[in-house]
Symmetry: C2
Subunit: 347 residues, 2 copies
């Protein structure tokens, strides 16, 4: 029986091109012989926007929909006004494909540099809601550009949207050895959304008696992330809080050079998308300086999502081995790191 | 000529009582002989709420209004549902007295413990907007408690509100040696509010040609706060982002035991309020374990706000000296730290 993996590849802007090439190199090396890998490249990003004014059309969405999954490098360039590609491509895609589970694991591997003193143990995963909250684009502006301008942003939270992501997070916590889930919100100030999140969290908790739960305000969570990150196992949180704390989580657990993420549609109605947490880093683009590790780890998340657990494990192990040795090696170029990882996963 | 300082004192809950006592001790010790200090204590907090159901009445506001400034310990207790005292007292007061400049300095003093490796130089101040953004309490809930519940939170941002706080931050940056101001927002996602903040920031910048400016997304700001906090001089940001990053800032620059804040009404129409960033810490309340340093530093902010610059400087110097020596001293009780600081400022 032969299997196939049909991938949409979006290298995007800046270092996106370079890191995606290495992600695909490692993917090819790790896939079993009988899996036919098909990839189709898409040219989304700043260049296409400048050439056509398009960021992501309905036809694009139809085309992307036919793939098993999407691998993205990075989207964004200083030549494009802030917000155009973010709202017009990245967020549009997350919303269109209902990527409501935004999965961001943080693990500090032995020997990897962290800004924290004392090399603490860090191994948690953030389940960030991906389709609601302040990211919906609701809101508006009146009297724009005048001294009487008023601009609003509306955070929209639904029982439907909160329950499904909370349930997903409980299931992930249940499957981990420590079985601990922390809700992060600001329910003492954002009381409308806060009560919805807290009530649903407490309700779903009853179905998972083995999972230990707690609640932390988002401001306090940033303190724990630098003073006691080991206290976290699984975190579930809203779209904006998740955005903020996962950058901090990446920073303390080895930097955004190694932070992977998945924009997941758990039901499989739409393809899920996997991407490094870092951006397009135009300052180092094209120089072979980017670290492809975050993209390679995103490929592991992609494989795990599609059921290739053994292959995902091999990538994780290869990255762990590579990072552990890195301190004692001279600096390597993007492609050299990719080569080294490809050799490890194949071997 | 004799002067007077008429202070409203709100010890509040938990360790609030203990730390405020030390703050007043140091205040009495530092004030010149000719200044007549009058204090009036108010019983806001959990006890009064349980006894009367009141958090902050119109009559309370009238009474508080007659003071030159307010010193607050901490408000909050697990016996009160989340949000009741926060929205009913703390935020109600900030809004009623138009405390639109929420000032939070961060300085890592020599010898003070930080979770960051390498003891980086940290000396910046966050100007957090205090009366707008997602803190306005706008929003609501429909179909509460059902599977079809929708909860919204509306962030309200006005040109009036943004301009005055941005202008205040520019003036503060102008007065500091490095003259650098960073706007922190999320203008690539929250594009309505983001454009308002960014446009006003750029406009006001033209009036302060000596101030260097830059812009950082809030998620990236959390990375810099742990990898390169020395890059910040003055930060201006929205109410919620300010809440989040100032807890992180406190954590990296010596912990919330030493983080002071001012809720300032710059025009002086209403009294400003000064309080430690930490909460009521019910777990250690009444044990003499709380560090009163954050409250003492808040007293310094209070004095500076009222024009007692020399006295504020003496408190800052006393705290610096005390913290620098602390590593080599046995642990002290709350009142012992207060005594030591009172001796230093008097001497
Ligand atoms: C680029 C931006 C739209 C995005 C987000 O805010 O979600 C990014 O910061 C991320 O975390 O993936
Ligand atoms: C207690 C809460 C209302 C408050 C806030 O969110 O502003 C606190 O976290 C703070 O930072 O002063």
């Amino acid at each position: 029986m032969s299997r196939s993996l049909n991938l949409a590849v979006i290298p995007g802007d800046g270092i996106g091109q370079e890191v995606v090439a290495e992600g695909l190199k490692v993917l090819s090396a790790v896939l079993p012989q009988d899996v036919k890998l098909e990839t189709e490249e898409y040219d989304f990003g700043a260049q296409r926007y400048h050439a056509t004014g398009e960021t992501l059309t309905d036809a694009d969405l139809d085309a992307l929909k036919r793939h098993d999954a999407i691998l993205l490098g990075a989207i964004g360039d200083p030549s494009v006004p802030s917000g155009v590609l973010e709202r017009g491509f990245l967020l549009k895609l997350r919303f269109a494909f209902d990527h409501h589970v935004n999965l961001r694991p943080s693990k500090l591997l032995p020997g990897v540099a962290t800004p924290l003193a004392g090399q603490p143990e860090i191994d948690f995963v953030v389940v960030r809601e991906g389709t609601e909250g302040p990211y919906t684009g609701n809101g508006g502006t009146i009297r724009k550009g005048t001294a009487h301008e008023v601009a609003t942003e509306v955070s929209v939270n639904t029982a439907y949207g909160v329950e499904r992501v909370v349930r997903d997070a409980f299931a992930r916590a249940q499957a981990r050895p420590r079985k601990k889930l922390t809700l992060v919100h600001k329910n003492n100030v954002l009381t409308f959304a806060g009560h919805l999140w807290t009530n649903i969290f407490n309700q779903v908790a009853e179905e998972f008696p083995e999972v230990t739960t707690d609640y932390i305000h988002v401001d306090a969570a940033t303190i724990y992330l630098v003073t006691d990150p080991g206290r976290f196992d699984v975190i579930v949180t809203d779209n904006l809080f998740g955005d903020i704390i996962t950058d901090l989580a990446a920073a303390v657990s080895g930097g955004i050079g190694v932070a992977a993420s998945g924009n997941i549609n758990p039901g499989g109605e739409f393809p899920s998308m996997f991407e490094p947490v870092h951006g397009s880093a135009p300052d180092i683009a094209g120089q072979g300086k980017a670290d492809p590790t975050a993209t390679v780890l995103s490929v592991a998340l992609l494989l795990r999502h599609l059921g290739y657990d053994a292959e995902a494990d091999r990538i994780d192990a290869a990255v762990t081995a590579d990072l552990t040795e890195r301190g004692s090696l001279p600096a390597r170029r993007t492609s050299e790191i990719g080569d080294a990882l490809a050799v490890r996963v194949a071997g």
